[in-house]
């Protein structure tokens, strides 16, 4: 009961703290919107091969571009309050609909990459920490540092050369085979085969990151008294490493995994463009190429809000897992 009260109090505090961040994000987006040279109507006009002044003015009032700064901010906030991010002039579809259509594909990519990175990274970090200073640690540390310094998209391209071009094992474009009517297991296998390279590409940097974090965190925990006690009790080194050191070392690692969500959203832009994966990242680049700023800022805004939601839920998860965290 007391515990549930504690978590409720945490929830109230975390949500309350998120309010200024959300407002700041809205303000930042509005400012960026104001910085755009020309406007979407100019682009529309040039694409449709010219339009009369009257049509331009009509379009401007349709998109709300003829108001002053404060009116525009208020109109902007008012629209957002109704979950209205405006139309994408390029696709002539509401921005929020475009984003929501693409979001699941990106989430699949990100969650798989994050899971892979956590599993492989923590395993590598645990091996490194338990062999600290000896050759397995040195070899792995070097490999991890190399991976940490390599652009993910370059590894992706090299993987395409090896697995798609030379060996012909995996597809390098899209999220499913087009023109085939697949069902059940075949459909799933097809999706998985398409996802392998993009997920690997997105995960590489984070594998290295979690390996480094886990190693550092475990070395920190290894110095503590309860580990010496566990060893003195005569427990096997493997048992001490896994049950005593690793478990305690994981808390800071998982805290950071929530923060990396934002970075992964950015990384998805490059990965999706590289592999023709129909997600938010590809949509971002389409928006850039067609100068569809309304869509571009809509993506930035909704991605930022997604990060806020993830951060709040990670905080609550931490509070639930670790009773020492108090809402003071």
């Amino acid at each position: 009961m007391a515990d549930r009260l504690r978590i409720l109090r945490m929830a109230r505090r975390t949500l309350w703290q998120a309010v200024p961040t959300v407002f700041g994000i809205l303000l930042l987006n509005f400012l960026l919107l104001r910085l755009i040279p020309g406007d979407a109507v100019d682009v529309l006009a040039s694409e449709s091969g010219g339009a009369t002044e009257a049509t331009l003015a009509q379009w401007r009032s349709h998109f709300g571009l003829d108001l002053n700064l404060w009116q525009q901010l208020l109109a902007y906030l008012n629209h957002l309050a109704h979950l209205d991010l405006g139309l994408s002039p390029r696709f002539n579809v509401p921005v929020i609909q475009l984003v929501l259509e693409r979001l699941p594909n990106t989430l699949v990519l990100m969650v798989s990459a994050l899971a892979l990175a956590l599993v492989v990274g923590i395993a590598a970090g645990a091996v490194m920490a338990s062999k600290a200073g000896r050759w397995p640690d040195r070899v792995l540390s070097l490999a991890v540092l190399l991976l940490y310094s390599t652009p993910g998209f370059w590894i992706g391209l090299m993987a395409v050369v090896l697995f798609s071009v030379t060996l012909g094992w995996l597809p390098s474009d899209g999220s499913e085979t087009l023109g085939m009517d697949l069902h059940g297991v075949d459909w799933l296998l097809d999706r998985v085969r398409h996802a392998v390279l993009p997920v690997l590409t997105l995960a590489t940097f984070y594998v290295a990151l979690y390996a480094r974090l886990t190693r550092a965190s475990m070395l920190e925990v290894q110095r503590q008294d309860f580990v010496r006690t566990a060893r003195a009790k005569g427990l096997s080194p493997a048992r001490v490493a896994i049950r005593h050191v690793l478990r305690n070392a994981l808390l800071p690692v998982t805290t950071l995994a929530g923060l990396h969500f934002a970075a992964l959203l950015g990384g998805a832009a490059v990965t999706e463009t590289l592999f023709g994966w129909p997600g938010l990242g590809r949509l971002t680049l389409d928006a850039v190429l067609s100068r569809d700023y309304n869509l571009l800022l809509g993506i930035l805004l909704l991605s930022s809000m997604l990060v806020v939601v993830i951060n709040v839920s990670m905080d609550l998860l931490q509070a639930w897992l670790d009773p020492r965290i108090q809402a003071d």
Binding site: L145, P151, W154, V161, L265, V288, V307
Partner: protein, 292 residues
């Protein structure tokens, strides 16, 4: 504490940075690679006179097939070796410039937030949190798309999206140091807030700042490469990421066009990471570093 005592603390710290550099093989190796890369960037015009984006030979020469073009030529007959040498200029310039902008913003915000605390500090940390929440690579893309893909805009975009790391670090340092004896001494001597911030506290926060900045340069190079790969770089300046992006079209027939500029990126990013890691370990093995 007298002014001379304060002086000795200050000089002690800057010596520490050099001593740390000499002590750490990793930091030394990283610096050596960086010196070589800088030499390559500086001498590009001497070894490869003429415009690196001009066609000089038959297209798609493989590396080693013509001694005049040791790294081959791309689909437009441009010299790959020249592109890599000139590309070093673009990568280093944008990364260092962008990092400088983020250090300036970060130090300013972090110092004010850490020194003054309370109200102003809270507001500044809220702003920092906003910039930490917004996915930084998306923010970079938006800023570059709104402006133009010039060196200034790209550097500004990188700076604007990566300063929170510096601000948090500097704030933490300032919060610890503002209670230190030598700061109390300076305050009792009637030094102004600005003098205390600039001359007393900041020099003592220099070591962690240098470590974090070198890691930031590494990530700035990766950001620049990603942008150029997406085609968002100055089309008239050769850059490593741009070379990978255009080489991608020929990936099935000439994979060296993507592989070589990638190796250049890796070696420079690795060098900055080794420098940062090496200094970090040598200065203080238990220093908490914020990893973005």
């Amino acid at each position: 504490m007298s002014t001379t005592a304060i002086e000795s603390i200050r000089s002690g710290h800057s010596e520490g940075l050099w001593a740390a550099l000499r002590r750490s093989p990793a930091a030394l190796t990283g610096s050596a690679i960086l010196v070589l890369t800088l030499a390559m960037a500086a001498s590009a015009g001497y070894f490869f006179p003429g415009d690196p984006s001009e066609m000089v030979a038959e297209p798609m020469l493989w590396p080693g097939s013509d001694p005049a073009y040791p790294l081959g030529t791309d689909s437009l007959g441009r010299n790959v070796a020249a592109g890599i040498a000139y590309g070093a200029r673009a990568s280093l310039l944008i990364a260092l410039y962008g990092t400088l902008i983020s250090v300036v913003i970060g130090v300013l915000v972090g110092a004010l937030a850490g020194y003054h605390g309370a109200r102003l500090g809270d507001v500044l940390m809220r702003i920092t949190e906003v910039f930490q929440t917004v996915p930084s690579f998306l923010l970079v893309i938006v800023i570059v798309a709104i402006g133009n893909p010039t060196v200034h805009v790209i550097a500004l975009a990188i700076g604007v999206s990566s300063w929170p790391t510096i601000a948090r670090l500097i704030r933490a340092e300032f919060r610890t140091l503002r209670e230190a004896d030598f700061v109390t001494a300076a305050r009792s001597q009637g030094f102004s807030h600005r003098a205390i911030i600039v001359h007393e506290i900041l020099p003592n926060a220099l070591a962690p700042l240098v470590v974090t900045a070198s890691i930031l340069v590494a990530s700035a190079i990766l950001i620049e490469a990603g942008l150029a790969f997406l085609g968002m770089s100055d089309p008239n300046t050769p850059s490593w990421g741009g070379m990978i992006g255009s080489g991608r079209e020929q990936i099935a027939s000439a994979w060296f066009l993507t592989a070589l500029p990638g190796l250049a990126i890796i070696s420079v990013v690795l060098a900055f990471n080794m420098l940062g890691d090496g200094l970090n370990d040598a200065l203080n093995p238990r220093l908490r570093r914020y990893i973005p």
